[in-house]
Subunit: 364 residues, 2 copies
Amino acid sequence: MKELKVELGQRSYPILIGKGLLGDPELFVNIIHSSQVMVVSNTTIASLYLPQLLDTLADFSPLSYVIADGESHKNLTVMNEIVTQLLENKFSRNCTLIALGGGVVGDITGFAAACYQRGANYIQIPTTLLAQVDSSVGGKTAVNHEIGKNMIGAFHQPIAVYSDSDVLDTLPDRELSAGLAEVIKYGLIRDPVFFTWLENNIESLRDRDDECLQYAIERSCQNKAEVVADDEREQGQRALLNFGHTFAHAVETGLNYKDWLHGEAVGLGMLMAADLSCRSGWITETDLARIRDLLIKAGLPIKLPEQFEISNMRELMSVDKKAKDGQLFLVVLKSIGDAVVTNEFDENLLQLTVEQFSSVKGKN
Amino acid sequence: MKELKVELGQRSYPILIGKGLLGDPELFVNIIHSSQVMVVSNTTIASLYLPQLLDTLADFSPLSYVIADGESHKNLTVMNEIVTQLLENKFSRNCTLIALGGGVVGDITGFAAACYQRGANYIQIPTTLLAQVDSSVGGKTAVNHEIGKNMIGAFHQPIAVYSDSDVLDTLPDRELSAGLAEVIKYGLIRDPVFFTWLENNIESLRDRDDECLQYAIERSCQNKAEVVADDEREQGQRALLNFGHTFAHAVETGLNYKDWLHGEAVGLGMLMAADLSCRSGWITETDLARIRDLLIKAGLPIKLPEQFEISNMRELMSVDKKAKDGQLFLVVLKSIGDAVVTNEFDENLLQLTVEQFSSVKGKN
């Protein structure tokens, strides 16, 4: 078992990565200081892992609440349902919530914890690769608004993150690929050595080699923990973690959060941001080709979905959280392993990038 | 104009108390660092003061959003409506919201700001005495859940509080009295000298003597600012500010947030907490009589409403945010000017207190 730490003073917390964590009562006894515990999960994950976790937590007589599976359920209505459960069971603000699931479960449970009586504790038990390497770490919680993703949320750190690599056994291939998009992101924005390692090990990762997967999770979490420790509330470099995400959120919003996984949209979004960076003369064609190749080998889509209306792209991008006073800021690459936030991109080049990735025109 | 400061490091902010603040553009130019500004108000206050404020803010081309008046509208649905306005107008997270109204407007606007893209700025312009002396200061924001008041919220400090005493001219007498309840609270929990001053000046306050009112606001805000600076997130002594509030929230919930004003419920709640303190031998009958007399002179109700079912009281009290692992904690008095949080009260004495204040039995 590997242990990392997110260094945030009083809000510091451990990230444990290993096998069999879901079955280890001590991990919970050591960190939960209240008798009121509720596990939130979704239908898919609950059927696989909730009984085991509830058994592990037996000393706490935990409650559980299972929400529907999917990004479209990450909204205020479902968050309010979680709060209703807590109130009906007279949970106090020093209760502990446990998010057992992927990014959606983690985000909405974290946000419910952030808001419940102005702040309750929560533990993240991410069950997708994407959640293990990204969304479970760093305290960003949110729900979606129909106009934009993650528009209602809070910075609220968990008290622990337990990434059990055993649960990846049941992860569908498509979700594994989606998680690899966020893994690749760390290489692209700040860790060129890791990017090369990924180029050399992408097949093993897709074959679910346990050692490779644990290393990728650990190195990703290490990168994320460093960024979050330096900039908890995204005043500066934390924004780099959004590489590809402005494009991705536009795609997801255009698809009404359906059909594509978040990681798939991020993979394409990173490629589009890299394409724009190349058109702008900031990275070479060779770098762009390396990025495209790795994303393809990771099993990620590299064209916009056919049902996506590309004429809406620019408008959808403008509701991004990085926008300031109506100006759009994007994360772009200066090289593989070096990213910056800028609003000094050429709108015409951005337009060319969007057209380049249209499926309808049969390009790529 | 008086200026106080809430000392919270990077989150410190000024409280200005005086006349004509709503008409002073400089107050806003000096503190708003974005071009996107939206004023949130309610129907009652908007008709009185919104045009003047929008005129003062003309350089920002502000938007405004007017919500229905009343505690029952302080809910997630209305909060979501505010967010919709912000998103439809492409407001970024560095926008500024301005809450123009009483506690309801301040709480919901502050919570919308707390959650909007995980944290936008807001300014409090409280228009009731209660909001000026209490809810606008300290960063507690929230909306109500049908099971309990303020159950969904955040600690999110404003960037400034502007208390314009001119707006009290239009405040109904009943609302003035409700505000006095929170003013009296500071005397009871930590400022015995102020309590005596209030006993000597209660008639002038109800006659709206401007000098007296400004002094009461200033001294109240000073007390609140000190408590908040020491304990921003209510880990300790800030809980004393909830004196009377556990009773009050139970009454308000039992009435479905209708009929009674928050301050009226707090006034009665303080008297009930004082009654329990007296029955428990912690304060004298004389002290209890002084408290009752001042509350009566302030124009506050001292019996439970007739339509309130007292058999529900204890159950409604148990959803209070101060409850821990199902145990109820109450703020009680050790003397006038000295309050403590305790769970060591006698349930039978609490029952006697509740019965004592029943209107149905014709007591008091």
